[in-house]
C-alpha cells in the first residue's frame, strides 16, 4: 500500500500539525516520527516498534491499508512497509525492521477492525489537528500567528478542511490576544500571497475559514480577487466578470491613493496586476486576452492613477545628490532576467565599437530578476519605499549616455526612470515580456527605440501599448549562425524529427509526441529527438501538471522506444545533423530561433500555427506559410509529403534562411539604434 507524493502533500498540513509538539509523539505503544526527506518536498511518518505489542499495530495498519486499497480518497497517508522484502531478498545487514503507519480518515475504518485497534489511530488522525491548534491557542502569548502562518504557507492543504467549526474561533481569539487582528494585514494578504504563488487550494481554504468565522474583510474586494484568481487559473480563461473586477480594483486602488494611503493603493494595484497578468492566462495558455482584445483587457491599467504615479517615477538623481545627470557617457547594457538572450546583442554592439558596459541588476538584488509581479518593487516605484542603497547598477544607468534595456522585466521601469534625459534609451522586448506587467510600468515616452524580433510582434506591442508607440518600434531579427549549422545529414535523419528546447509548457512537446505517434502508425522507423534540459522542478501547479502529462505520454508503448532525450548540449549542430525535420510546436513564439537554426542545418521545418499569436499570424509572417500547420495530423501529413522529396525540401529550407535577414550581421543596425541615426 503506497501513497503517491501528491497525496501526501495534499494532506501535509494536518500531518504537520499532528506532530508539531515535537519530532516524535507517542501513539499507543509506538513512536510517531517526523521524517524530512532529502528533497524536503515530501515527508513520511515512520513508526518504530517499541515493544512486542507492535504486531497488533502492524496488523491493524495492514488491514486498514488493505481495506482502503483502491480508494485513495479515504487514505490520508499510507506507507509501504519496506521491511516486507520477499523472502531471501532482504539484505542480511539491514539494521532493523521498519513499520509504517496508515492514517485513515475518521469513520472510514472497516467494520472488521476492532475498536481497540482503531482508537489510537483515530484519536491521532484528523481530529488531532484541531487538538494541536487548541494547544497552539493555549500556548504562551506571542508568535502564534507566525507559527500558524508558517503552516499555512508551507502547505497546500485547505485549512477549512483541517479544522472543525468551533476550533478556528478559538484560535482567532488566541491570535487576537497576541494582537493579531484579521484585517488586510493578515489573512487577506496571506490569501493573496498564496493565490499568487500557485497555492490556490490553501488560499481558498483561508478565505473559507475567514468566511465561516466572520473575520474582518470577508466579501472585500481583495477577498473576491483571491477567489477570482483561483477561478481563472482553474478555468485557464477569463470572462467579463474578470474584467469588471479589474476595473473595480483599479478604482479602489485609486481611491486609496486619493485618501493618502499609498501603501494600500500599491497593494491593491499589485493585485490588479496579478489579476490581469497571471501566467495561466497568457504565458502558458493557448490564447491570451492581451493579444485577442488588448484594448479591453488593459483598460483598467490605462485609467489607473496608481500606474500613472509609478510611470512618473523620476530616479535620475540619487537621493543624496543634487544633480547626477551631468557628464553622462558610454553605453550601459542591462543584461536582463534571462541574460543568454542578450549575449549576441552585446557581441554586436561590441563589434560596432560601442563598448557596452554590461550590468546585471538581478545579480545585485535577486528581486530584480524575473517578470512576475513584485509588490515590494512597486512600492519603490510608487515612492512608498526608498530606492535601496545596494543598487550600484542604477548609478551606472544614471551616468550613461545611452542605455540598452534587454527585456521589459522587473528592472526595466527603474532603468528607464533613472536614465538621464539626454540619454538614448533602447528597450528590447521578447515574446514573454510582451505578455507581462512590467512593460506597462515603463515610461514609454522616455524610450527612444522599442525593438522586437519579428513583424508580428510589432502588432502585439502596438496592441498592448497603443498606436502611439508605433513610430518607435523596430524589428531586428535574431542572429542565426547559419554557417555553423550546416553539416551533412547522418544516416537515419530521413526518419528523424528534432525539437530543440522542448521542456516547457509553452513549447508544448505533447503536440510533437502526437506527431511522432501518427508517423509511427505509418512507419515505426520514425524517431523524435528531444534536445535540451529536462523540465525544471517546480511548484507551479500548471507546469507540474503539464510535465507529468508529457512524461506519462512518453512512457506509452507507441512512442516509448522512439524518443531520444539528449539532455542539454553545447553541440546543437551535431544533434541537428541527425534530424531531417525540425518541429516548432510552441503555443507562442515571436520568431522561433530553434526552428530557423534547424532550417539552416537543412532540416525541413514543420511549424505549428502558434496559437497565442495566431491572431497576428506570427508563424506565417516569421517563416513561410507552406511550412505552417494547425494540427498534429496536418504536421504528420506535411512530414510524410516532405519525405517524398526530402533533398529538395531540405535545400529550400537552407535557401530560405540564407535569403532572410537572419544571416545578416546586426551590428550596424544596433549601433544606429543606440546612436539615434536614421535607419
Amino acid at each position: 500500500m503506497v501513497a503517491r507524493p501528491q497525496d501526501l502533500d495534499a494532506h501535509r498540513l494536518p500531518l504537520e500539525i499532528l506532530t508539531t509538539v515535537g519530532p516524535a509523539a507517542r501513539l499507543g505503544d509506538v513512536e510517531l516520527r517526523t521524517t524530512t526527506t532529502a528533497s524536503g518536498s515530501a515527508f513520511g511518518r515512520e513508526v518504530r516498534p517499541l515493544g512486542l505489542a507492535t504486531g497488533g499495530v502492524r496488523r491493524t495498519v495492514q488491514r486498514a491499508a488493505s481495506a482502503v486499497r483502491g480508494d485513495r480518497s479515504r487514505v490520508l497517508a499510507a506507507f509501504a512497509d519496506p521491511a516486507e522484502f520477499p523472502p531471501g531478498e532482504r539484505p542480511a545487514s539491514r539494521p532493523e525492521r521498519t513499520h509504517y503507519l496508515a492514517l485513515v480518515a475518521d469513520a472510514e475504518w472497516p467494520e472488521d477492525v476492532a475498536p481497540a485497534n482503531r482508537a489510537p489511530l483515530e484519536v491521532e488522525g484528523v481530529a488531532t489537528a484541531g487538538q494541536r491548534l487548541r494547544e497552539l491557542a493555549s500556548s504562551r502569548a506571542g508568535g502564534r500567528w507566525k507559527t500558524l502562518r508558517g503552516w499555512i504557507r508551507r502547505s497546500p492543504a485547505r485549512l477549512d478542511e483541517v479544522l472543525d467549526g468551533d476550533e478556528w474561533p478559538l484560535l482567532l481569539d488566541a491570535l487576537g490576544r497576541d494582537g493579531v487582528s484579521f484585517d488586510l494585514g493578515d489573512w487577506r494578504a496571506d490569501a493573496a500571497w498564496l493565490a499568487t504563488h500557485e497555492r490556490r487550494d490553501a488560499a481558498l481554504g483561508l478565505c473559507e475559514v475567514a468566511r465561516r468565522t466572520g473575520a474582518v474583510g470577508v466579501g472585500s474586494i481583495e477577498h473576491r480577487v483571491v477567489e477570482e484568481l483561483v477561478r481563472v487559473a482553474r478555468a485557464g480563461a477569463a470572462d467579463t466578470g474578470t474584467e469588471a473586477l479589474a476595473h473595480e480594483l483599479s478604482a479602489a486602488a485609486d481611491t486609496a491613493l486619493d485618501d493618502g494611503d499609498a501603501a494600500h493603493a500599491v497593494r491593491l494595484f499589485a493585485l490588479l496586476l496579478h489579476l490581469l497578468f497571471q501566467r495561466d492566462l497568457h504565458v502558458v495558455s493557448e490564447s491570451s486576452p492581451l493579444v485577442e482584445r488588448p484594448d479591453a483587457w488593459t483598460a483598467p491599467l490605462r485609467t489607473s492613477a496608481v500606474r500613472r504615479r509609478i510611470i512618473a517615477a523620476d530616479l535620475r538623481a540619487r537621493p543624496d545628490a543634487a544633480d547626477a545627470t551631468g557628464g553622462a557617457q558610454g553605453l550601459v547594457f542591462l543584461a536582463g532576467s534571462y541574460p543568454r538572450f542578450g549575449v549576441p546583442v552585446v557581441r554586436a554592439l561590441t563589434a560596432a565599437g560601442l563598448d557596452p558596459h554590461v550590468v546585471d541588476p538581478g545579480d545585485e538584488d535577486a528581486a530584480l530578476r524575473g517578470i512576475s509581479v513584485d509588490e515590494g518593487l512597486l512600492r519603490v516605484l510608487a515612492g512608498v519605499d526608498p530606492v535601496p542603497d545596494s543598487w550600484p547598477w542604477l548609478d551606472a544607468v544614471r551616468g550613461a549616455a545611452a542605455v540598452f534595456v534587454e527585456w521589459a522585466d522587473r528592472a526595466a521601469p527603474f532603468a528607464v526612470a533613472a536614465a538621464s534625459t539626454d540619454a538614448r534609451v533602447v528597450l528590447r522586448v521578447h515574446s514573454v515580456d510582451l505578455l507581462s506587467a512590467w512593460l506597462h510600468l515603463v515610461d514609454v515616452d522616455r524610450v527612444d527605440e522599442l525593438v522586437v524580433v519579428s513583424d508580428a510582434m510589432v502588432d502585439v506591442v502596438v496592441g498592448v501599448l497603443g498606436a502611439d508607440v508605433r513610430p518607435k518600434v523596430r524589428v531586428v531579427p535574431n542572429v542565426v549562425a547559419a554557417d555553423q549549422m550546416a553539416r551533412p545529414k547522418l544516416p537515419g535523419a530521413e526518419r528523424t524529427l528534432a525539437m530543440v528546447g522542448w521542456a516547457q509548457t509553452v513549447k508544448d512537446p505533447l503536440w510533437a509526441v502526437e506527431v511522432l505517434a501518427l508517423l509511427r502508425a505509418e512507419d515505426p522507423a520514425w524517431r523524435l529527438l528531444l534536445v535540451g534540459a529536462d523540465f525544471p522542478r517546480t511548484r507551479v501547479e500548471s507546469d507540474a501538471r503539464y510535465a507529468l502529462a508529457v512524461r506519462r505520454r512518453l512512457l506509452r508503448p507507441d512512442v516509448r522506444d522512439a524518443v531520444e532525450l539528449t539532455g542539454w548540449t553545447s553541440d546543437v549542430a551535431g544533434v541537428l545533423a541527425r534530424a531531417g525535420y525540425v518541429l516548432s510546436t510552441s503555443r507562442r513564439e515571436s520568431a522561433s530561433l530553434a526552428v530557423v537554426e534547424g532550417m539552416a542545418s537543412g532540416a525541413v521545418p514543420v511549424v505549428r500555427d502558434w496559437p497565442v499569436y495566431a491572431r497576428v499570424d506570427a508563424a506565417r509572417r516569421a517563416l513561410d506559410a507552406r511550412w505552417v500547420v494547425s494540427t498534429p495530423a496536418e504536421a504528420a501529413a506535411r512530414v510524410l509529403a516532405a519525405s517524398q522529396r526530402l533533398e529538395e525540401e531540405s535545400r529550400a529550407a537552407r535557401e530560405w534562411v540564407a535569403s532572410q535577414a537572419y544571416a545578416e550581421d546586426p551590428a550596424d543596425r544596433y549601433a544606429r539604434l543606440v546612436r539615434g541615426e536614421a535607419e
Binding site: V2, A3, R4, P5, D7, L8, T35, T37, A38, S39, S41, A42, F43, G44, E46, F79, A80, P82, F85, P86, G88, E89, R90, P91, A92, S93, R94, P95, T98, Y100, A503, L530, A533, D534, F535, L548, V550, R551, R552, L554, L555, P557, R560, D561, V563, L565, T566, G567, W568, T569, S570, D571
Partner: protein, 405 residues
C-alpha cells in the same frame, strides 16, 4: 600505470594515508595500483580506526606484494593540517629507516586523496633526490565539487608547511594562497614528482588550468599522464558469495556508493515514481550506501518503496560479488555545469569496479565528461528525470533489454 616512466629495479615504497584493511576508496585504489604494477612494495599508512571500518577482504587486493606494512598511529582526519603534519613527519622518519637499510626501495608511489599521502611523499622525495616518485591525484584537492576553492589551512608555525613553501620558493614557484595546505600539496607534487597521474583527461586539464604558476603548468604538460583507475581481474568478483539473493523475474538495477548533493538518486527515484505500478514491479532498485534510511525515506515519500531496496554499504569484495549478479549498475556524474565549472574533472572510481563486473552499466552523464565517453549499455543525461523514466520503462517492457556480458 606510470605512463612512459620505467620504474627502476627494486622494491617500491607506497605512501598511502589510508590503505587496506581500512575500507576507503583511496586505500582500495592504492592497493589496486600495487596489484596492477605487480611489484613488491612496503607500505606506510595511517591507523584509521577512528573513522574507517576494517575490511580484511581488502588485503587480498595487493596480497603478497606488500612485504611490509607499517601503520602509523598518527591523528586521523580528512585533511586538517593537524592530521597531515604528524603523518608526514612520522612517515618521513619511518621511510628513512627503509631507505637507509638493506634492499632499500628505489621508487615511491603516493596518492591523494588523502592529501597527507602526497605531502609525506614530497618530504621523502626532498630527502632522496634519486628516488623515483610517482604521485596520483584522484580528484582536484584545492577545488570542491562545485569548482570553488577548497581550503585546508596550514597551522601557524608549521615546520612542514614552511618546508613545502621553501621548496616552492627555491624553485621560484608561486602559489595563490600559501596558507592553503591543499594548494601547497598540489604545487609541491607538481614540482617534484617524476610522474603525476590523473584519472581522466578532464581532471588533468582542470588541475593544470588551476595552477597559479606558469612553470608548473609547463612541467605538468611534461610529467602529467592520464591513467584510468585499475580494474581487478574477474577472480575477485567470485571471492565472496553474494549477500543478497535476487528474486527471479525483475530487472535488477543497483547503485553502490555514497550520495552527495550533486550526485544523488532523487532523479532516479522520481523516474521510478512515474512508472505505472505494474511496470515498476518488473524492476528492482538496490541501493547500498552509507545512509540507507535516507533512500528508504525518499522512496517511501515517492510511493516507490515497493521496488527500492536500500541497505548499508557492503564490504568491498561482497560489493564486487553482488555487483556481478545485478543486471544494471548505475553510476552518475557530478552535476558540474550548473555550478559553472568549465569542465567536469570527476570520474567516479566505482566505474573501474563496474567495468570488471558482468553486469551492464547505466551511466547518468553530463555532456563532455569522461564518463560520457565510456562505452556503456545505457546512457542518460544527468538531471533528466524524463530520460531516466523512459529508460526504466523500456527496461520494464523488455525493449531496453540489457543482455549480460
Amino acid at each position: 600505470m606510470t605512463g612512459d616512466v620505467v620504474l627502476p629495479d627494486g622494491d617500491g615504497l607506497v605512501v598511502s594515508y589510508c590503505f587496506p584493511p581500512y575500507a576507503d576508496t583511496a586505500g582500495i585504489v592504492a592497493a589496486k595500483r600495487v596489484r596492477e604494477l605487480g611489484r613488491r612494495v612496503r607500505v606506510l599508512s595511517n591507523a584509521m580506526d577512528a573513522t574507517r571500518a576494517v575490511d580484511r577482504g581488502l588485503e587480498r587486493i595487493a596480497g603478497d606484494l606488500v612485504t611490509e606494512d607499517v601503520t602509523l598511529a598518527t591523528p586521523t582526519g580528512f585533511a586538517t593540517w593537524e592530521t597531515i603534519e604528524p603523518f608526514a613527519v612520522a612517515a618521513r622518519a619511518r621511510a628513512a629507516t627503509w631507505l637507509d637499510g638493506p634492499g632499500a626501495p628505489t621508487w615511491m608511489y603516493s596518492r591523494a586523496q588523502f592529501a597527507a599521502s602526497n605531502v609525506a611523499a614530497a618530504l621523502i622525495a626532498a630527502d632522496r633526490p634519486g628516488l623515483t616518485w610517482v604521485a596520483e591525484f584522484s580528484d582536484p584537492l584545492s577545488a570542491d565539487v562545485r569548482g570553488r576553492v577548497r581550503r585546508s589551512p596550514t597551522d601557524p608555525g608549521s615546520a612542514v608547511a614552511d618546508e613545502l613553501r621553501a621548496l616552492l620558493a627555491d624553485a621560484g614557484v608561486e602559489v595563490a594562497d600559501t596558507e592553503n595546505g591543499y594548494e601547497l600539496c598540489e604545487a609541491v607534487t607538481f614540482l617534484r614528482a617524476d610522474r603525476v597521474l590523473f584519472t581522466n583527461d578532464r581532471q588533468r586539464a582542470f588541475m593544470t588550468g588551476r595552477c597559479h604558476d606558469a612553470s608548473l603548468r609547463t612541467r605538468l604538460d611534461e610529467v602529467g599522464v592520464v591513467v584510468p583507475h585499475p580494474t581487478l581481474d574477474r577472480s575477485f568478483y567470485a571471492l565472496e558469495k553474494p549477500v543478497v539473493t535476487l528474486e527471479p523475474g525483475p530487472v535488477h538495477v543497483a547503485y553502490f556508493g555514497n550520495l552527495y548533493a550533486n550526485r544523488g538518486l532523487e532523479d532516479l527515484l522520481d523516474a521510478f515514481a512515474l512508472l505505472a505500478p505494474e511496470e515498476r514491479r518488473r524492476l528492482r532498485f538496490h541501493v547500498f550506501t552509507a545512509r540507507p534510511q535516507d533512500v528508504t525515506d525518499a522512496a517511501a515519500a515517492r510511493g516507490v518503496a515497493d521496488v527500492v531496496r536500500a541497505a548499508p554499504a557492503l564490504p568491498y569484495l561482497e560489493f564486487l560479488a553482488l555487483s556481478d549478479t545485478m543486471d544494471l549498475l548505475v553510476v552518475t556524474d557530478a552535476d558540474t555545469r550548473s555550478q559553472g565549472m568549465p569542465v567536469n574533472p570527476f570520474l567516479p572510481s566505482k566505474v573501474s569496479d563496474y567495468l570488471g563486473s558482468s553486469a551492464r552499466i547505466w551511466a547518468v552523464v553530463e555532456e563532455g565528461s569522461a564518463l560520457s565517453e565510456l562505452d556503456v549499455a545505457l546512457r542518460t543525461p544527468v538531471g533528466h528525470v524524463t530520460a531516466a523514466a523512459v529508460a526504466l520503462a523500456r527496461l520494464a517492457a523488455g525493449t531496453g533489454a540489457v543482455p549480460r556480458r
